[in-house]
């Protein structure tokens, strides 16, 4: 039997959740025995090379590219798991959700005290750049999601237990201390 294939990505996230995946310590060796990785920043594979069993999503959707990647994951992964507060509820990037996008961009590129070298007062608008969304969207408000792992980041043990349970086809055993929102 071939090993289950896992893909991961970080959308509007800080990679902290990926750090937490690595935080399973020496069990990472077991993990490599258990699964294979496809598209993921962990192995630097940039595009899907095959259909995957499990997709792990870190971060919410703050721009058009995030939406495209998320939809691509939904297309290629049988099971999609949201990892962390940002993916589930927007997280800190969503603090901007009640500020008009124009104000956000002007603050970032024109008005903030840290802006020193923008004499032409340009707000980046190259066609290659993803387009910012009107707010940061939780991933489940865009595509169908199968499982959620809360936390900032989710505890490594939560990620481990969920992955192993999923692979073994059983219900994960979630101790009280595993579920945290911070």
């Amino acid at each position: 039997m071939s090993k289950p294939v896992v893909a991961t990505t970080s959308l509007a996230g800080c990679f902290g959740c990926h750090m937490s995946i690595l935080d399973i310590d020496e069990r990472i060796l077991d993990l490599i025995e258990l699964v294979e990785f496809d598209k993921s920043p962990i192995n630097d594979i940039k595009t899907f090379s095959r259909e995957c069993d499990i997709g792990l999503i870190e971060g919410g959707c703050c721009n058009s590219e995030n939406v495209e990647v998320l939809r691509d994951f939904r297309k290629h992964c049988k099971t999609l798991i949201l990892v962390g507060e940002c993916a589930i509820m927007g997280g800190l990037p969503a603090l901007r959700n009640n500020i008009p996008i124009k104000e956000c961009l002007e603050e970032a590129y024109l008005n903030s005290p840290s802006v020193t070298e923008n004499e032409e007062r340009i707000i980046p608008n190259d066609d290659e750049l993803p387009i910012i969304l009107n707010k940061v969207y939780p991933c489940q408000e865009i595509v169908k999601i199968d499982y959620y792992l809360p936390g900032c980041p989710p505890r490594a043990d939560l990620i481990w237990e969920t992955l192993v349970a999923l692979i073994e086809g059983r219900k994960p055993k979630l101790d009280y201390e595993l579920i945290k929102y911070d």
Binding site: G91, N97, N98, P138, I179
Partner: protein, 232 residues
């Protein structure tokens, strides 16, 4: 005072007549989840998570006096679903960014969410546009986190019984307002008390916070209510 007998989930309990169901249950080692309830103050039954079934009827345990022969359901799938749903509604109704909140780990809303093992809310996030009021020297009001439990309204009054806090407007537009003319009367002690009665991080003392490390906070290791259940 006469003693009454009643049953919760098949367990026989006793309490003094007229005691509110919530306390009566707790005295018998049974935890009924609650949020807006505040020991020592008139109950208001507004969060609705302490809903139990009394002789088949939904009633809030914090406002219902116990009576002889009551047959009470507390821990059933139906009630768990109602409570979970209400917690989820509260979570999507405000802007609860736990990772950035001073109250995280000591927050009662979060603690109830942990207790009920909620991985993510079933409802869409509302991202309401809400204000932070930092105008007061002693207290900071972050309305993003408010769950409108009315604890501050009920508990914080001046020596003449005048309110510092009150509801304003109605419907989903309802909010808590802080009296601008009463500002000078809000002493440090009252500010401290306000922060303590607030179940979430909506009322905070200024320049305080994050003083307990992760792992040592109130609800890091043990679920809310477990102290009542283990005392049994």
């Amino acid at each position: 005072m006469s003693v009454v007998k009643f049953i919760i989930d098949g367990v026989e309990c006793i309490a003094e007549k007229g005691e509110y169901l919530l306390q009566a249950a707790r005295q018998n080692g049974i935890y009924i989840p609650s949020l807006c309830h505040l020991e020592g103050y008139k109950p208001r039954g507004s969060c609705r998570i302490c809903n139990v079934k009394v002789n088949g009827r939904l009633m809030t345990a914090c406002t219902t006096p116990v009576a002889d022969g009551m047959d009470i359901e507390n821990d059933t799938p139906e009630l768990r679903d109602i409570r979970t749903a209400i917690l989820e509604i509260l979570f999507v109704e405000g802007n609860h960014f736990c990772p950035a909140c001073e109250r995280s780990g000591n927050c009662e809303l979060q603690a109830q969410i942990y207790r009920h093992q909620i991985m993510a809310p079933r409802f869409p996030f509302q991202f309401p546009d809400r204000d932070v009021d930092a105008s007061h020297p002693n207290i900071l009001k972050d309305y993003n986190r408010c769950i409108l439990c009315k604890r501050c309204i009920r508990a914080i009054k001046d020596e003449n019984g005048k309110s510092f806090f009150a509801f304003k407007k109605r419907s989903h537009k309802v909010e808590i307002s802080m009296d601008p003319t009463m500002k000078e009367n809000l002493t440090e002690e009252l500010a401290q008390r306000a922060m303590e009665v607030c179940p979430v991080g909506a009322l905070l003392r200024k320049e305080k916070g994050y003083d307990t490390p992760i792992g040592k906070r109130k609800y890091d290791k043990q679920p809310i209510g477990s102290e009542i259940e283990t005392a049994k």
